[in-house]
């Protein structure tokens, strides 16, 4: 029997309270674009953060090495980097390694070193049937929990997470993100109510190519976390957003559930609504709630979840945190505030506030004319009025 208290804090009280701005934009035809727009947009929501955390996720930024896992790792000290590199060499074939270029600015003080490693996991020595993704996940947890001073920002293919202590626009400047190109970008500005800022605690949170930016406080944190621990997740990042990232990984990757099902698990309809549904829908939600009830996310939240090909904007079922969605041509936007979207795309084909608990899913268009934005499940009768245009 594993003793979780050895690796996990048994009191579960590492949750850090924070309020935030979030922003996401995606080209549904997969066209690459620079970080300029999202930096402008998230900077416009400056006042929603307090300079203690900002970050970005970029998809499609390493097209030349798109077959390799890109581990972006932050190191507190030189020693921690050396130790980690010994570990990496032991368990990975490293195809390329470099320090991530930075452009020091006044605002960013005492930054850690951040490196990226393009790697393939060594599977040869493992005497078990296990996927590459699972191996990488396992290694990431080992680095985060056992190697002092090393934290993995992201570990997916052809994507990367850049984050740190500062306002998001300062972090963008520091990493020179206007020079990167991607087809999905998400961003986060943080307002933690604890004083100590920590680079690893900034958003996005990521595992493999899944990223989460989150505005909210999860009151079900203890229940969510203890459920995830049963599935071997180790919570080490001192924030509740981490459980969202791991829950997405468990449900979407390991259990193979489509992202709309995952969102239904996070914010299912209330039982009284389920009782009124047709038999097929009813058994669907009953099965979800009964099996994954411990992963219901309670308390106020708005999240943008992304992985290759999909960007999802979602809120808690009574919508206690803001979220606005917008569409212009092939671009889909999600933001805490409409003003941020308007700033980068003054003309919008459609802009609206999604119904609480109903995800907005933007998908890469692989066939012309395909519907690229899904507004979640059908609304209950009488619920319609909740979705309204913003202006």
């Amino acid at each position: 029997m594993k003793d979780l208290s050895k690796v996990n804090n048994p009191y579960n009280d590492e949750k850090v309270i924070s309020q935030c701005s979030i922003f996401g934009m995606m080209s549904t035809v997969g066209e690459l674009f620079s970080g300029k727009a999202i930096i402008t947009a998230v900077a416009n929501m400056h006042d929603r953060g307090n300079g203690l955390g900002g970050g970005f996720a970029i998809y499609g930024c390493y097209p030349d090495r798109s077959e390799d896992y890109c581990l972006q790792i932050m190191f507190n000290t030189r020693v921690s980097r050396e130790e980690t590199e010994v570990y990496l060499k032991r368990f990975f074939h490293i195809n390329h390694a470099e320090e991530i270029p930075t452009f020091p600015t006044k605002a960013i003080k005492n930054p850690p070193d951040v490196w990226r490693y393009f790697v393939q996991p060594k599977l040869e020595e493992l005497h078990e049937i296990i996927s590459e993704d699972d191996v990488v996940t396992r290694r990431v947890f080992t680095i985060n929990t056992t190697l002092e001073g090393a934290y993995v920002f992201s570990s997916g293919k052809n994507m990367g997470v850049f984050k740190g202590v500062g306002f998001p626009e300062e972090i963008a400047e520091y990493f020179g993100l206007e020079h990167y190109q991607g087809y999905i970008w998400t961003a986060h500005g943080r307002f933690p109510t604890n004083t100590q800022g920590w680079w690893g605690g900034a958003h996005p949170f990521s595992l493999l190519d899944w990223t989460v930016v989150h505005n909210g406080e999860i009151s079900s944190y203890g229940a969510n976390r203890r459920f995830l621990e049963m599935y071997d997740y180790v919570c080490s990042m001192h924030t509740d957003t981490e459980v969202v990232a791991y829950a997405v990984d468990l449900l979407a990757r390991r259990h193979g559930l489509p992202v709309e099902v995952v969102m239904d698990i996070f914010s299912p309809p209330v039982w009284e609504q389920i009782d009124r549904m047709g038999p097929e829908e009813r058994v669907y939600f009953e099965a979800l709630r009964n099996t994954y009830g411990p992963l219901l996310l309670n308390g106020p939240f708005a999240i943008i979840v992304a992985h290759h090909g999909e960007m999802v904007a979602h809120t808690d079922r009574i919508r206690l945190r803001p979220m606005v969605a917008g569409i212009r041509g092939d671009m889909v936007y999600a933001s805490s505030e409409e003003s941020a979207i308007r700033l980068v795309s003054p003309q919008l084909d459609r802009v609206w506030i999604p119904v609480g608990g109903h995800p907005i899913i933007a998908r890469i268009k692989d066939t012309p004319g395909q519907e690229v934005v899904k507004g979640g499940r059908e609304l209950d009768k009488g619920e319609k009025a909740e979705e309204f245009p913003t202006c």
């Binding site: 009280d13 309270i17 079900s220 229940a223 193979g256 209330v270 009830g293």
Partner: protein, 499 residues
């Protein structure tokens, strides 16, 4: 020989108020009151008084006050009055002392050392009067994961039962309690959408209509069991132990086995109904495994099977074995759990508090990654809705209440259930007494209790910013300890207040 016992209680009757109506004489089933017709006064045999308060509540002029006997032995911290009295009774009788209800010793009540969190600023609290607030709970095994095949969810095939609130009525058999009390429990559970438990005394045919709200017990005496008994119910529970008397069986004396009870228990009228201490076909965990599966075969795998044990020192390891043996629900009954009759020495000294057992079992099942294989129900020592809230935050799915349900029917916890003379008509089969429980009022009171506690749980959830009970389950972050030692906080898995 002259008894050297002091009466435990005194009867103060105000002669000014008393109108000699003799209500107290008729109401008292312990033979305390008499009437002296010559002098037109009431007389007392105080040594018989058990302080059930039936007389003082029913006295039309409020002439009666029953109080603890002020006369006492010389104060002694070691030889308390209770120990002196118990010893003397045994010297006079040479027997094992019996008692009823749960342990009344001042062992630490952990519920009273746990405080609950509330949302402020960063997380809005939720008003249950305006927003949905969900208490609905499903009991039974949950799958480890769901699968999608061709865009369709493959539905899990573990049977689950639904309850509208995480509060159920614990096992109290017909025989231990009166027919009226039993039927109040059945009906209230049915009408409120929760469950009651038949205990090990069979299940009268005319109450089978409440089947979807019924948990039937299969205990060591195997009373009243047949295929229909299992199949008419919603859940089948194998009873291994009971918190008030771990390791002890039961005994319903023959004089209580009336015609109806004899039919229900499937034993001859007037014969003793003895439940042995162990099940004589379960001497090990693999035997339990076989019984669980025999029952599952009998119900065609359509109903969850529950296993109930008393909270003992190594409950976590036993619980793990039970889950692996196929139990869909496990029930832990704590030290303070009630009983109709138990040896006093056992009731007061054997077992552990339910709070500690619950925390340990939940943690153990999670460490083994099998917590979702079974629902966890706890009982024994629940007194109010806050206790239930705390139990769920520690990791329980639902609770059983026994004593509180009887209190809703009139019980005053006088602990004399084993005498069969319950003056409130609950733990007795005497028709003169049993009619004191009115089935309509009793049912309504039980439903009121469920409703009141459910509303309070919703308030507590809302103040913590949670709108669904599953987000509370095992969410120990919502709790803080006060006045606890560090080992106790660690055992409960909670931080201290202010930490």
């Amino acid at each position: 020989m002259l008894t050297s016992l002091l009466p435990e209680f005194t009867v103060d009757r105000s002669e000014d108020r008393c109108i000699q109506c003799r209500v107290c004489e008729r109401q008292c089933s312990f033979d305390v009151f008499g009437y002296d017709g010559e002098n037109n006064v009431m007389v007392h045999r105080e040594e018989n008084c058990v302080a059930c308060q039936r007389c003082s509540v029913l006295c039309p002029t409020n002439a009666l006050v029953i109080r603890e006997n002020q006369y006492t032995y010389r104060p002694n911290a070691n030889w308390t009055r209770e120990y002196i009295q118990d010893l003397k009774k045994q010297a006079e009788t040479g027997g094992v002392l019996l008692t009823g209800m749960g342990c009344d010793k001042p062992h630490k009540i952990y519920w009273d050392h746990i405080l609950i969190n509330a949302s402020q600023v960063t997380n809005p609290s939720i008003d249950p009067l305006r927003e949905p607030m969900e208490l609905r709970t499903h009991l039974g095994r949950k799958p480890d994961q769901l699968e999608m095949v061709d865009g369709k969810l493959v539905l899990p095939d573990y049977p689950n039962v639904e309850i509208s609130t995480p509060i159920m009525f614990g096992a109290m058999s017909y025989g231990a309690i009166s027919y009226n009390s039993f039927r109040c429990l059945a009906r209230a559970a049915f009408e409120y959408g929760t469950m009651f438990n038949t205990g090990e005394g069979g299940w009268p045919m005319e109450l089978r209509k409440y089947g979807k709200s019924t948990i039937v017990q299969c205990a060591s005496g195997r009373f009243g069991l047949d295929l229909e008994y299992f199949n008419d119910a919603a859940v089948v529970e194998i009873k291994i132990g009971q918190g008030a008397k771990p390791g002890i069986g039961g005994h319903l004396p023959g004089e209580k086995v009336s015609e109806h009870i004899s039919q229900t228990r499937m034993i001859p009228e007037g014969s003793d109904a003895i439940s042995p201490a162990p099940h004589h076909d379960i001497y090990s965990i693999e035997d339990l495994h076989m019984l669980i599966h025999a029952i599952k075969e009998a119900v065609d795998y359509q109903k969850p099977v529950s296993v109930k044990i008393s909270a003992v020192h190594n409950a976590p390891a036993i619980a793990s074995g039970m889950v692996r043996a196929g139990a869909d629900i496990i029930v832990l009954d704590g030290l303070r759990g009630g009983t109709g009759a138990a040896p006093k020495i056992l009731r007061d000294n054997v077992g552990i508090p339910i709070e500690l057992a619950l925390a340990a079992v939940d943690t153990r099942l999670r460490n083994e990654g099998i917590r979702n294989w079974a629902s966890l129900v706890v009982s024994g020592g629940i007194r109010n809705s806050a206790d239930i809230f705390k139990a769920i935050a520690l990791g329980a799915d639902a609770v059983y209440i026994g004593t509180p349900a009887l209190m809703a029917l009139g019980c005053t916890v006088c602990q004399k259930c084993y005498t069969g003379k319950c003056a409130w008509g609950i733990t007795t089969q005497d028709p003169y007494l049993t009619k004191r429980v009115n089935p309509e009022i009793g049912t309504q009171n039980l439903k009121n209790l469920l409703r009141a506690w459910s509303l309070e749980i919703k308030e507590l959830l809302g103040c913590g910013g949670i709108n669904s009970i599953e987000s509370l389950r095992g969410n120990r972050l919502q709790l803080r300890g006060i006045g606890l030692e560090s080992w106790e906080l660690e055992a409960l898995g909670i931080r201290g207040a202010g930490q």
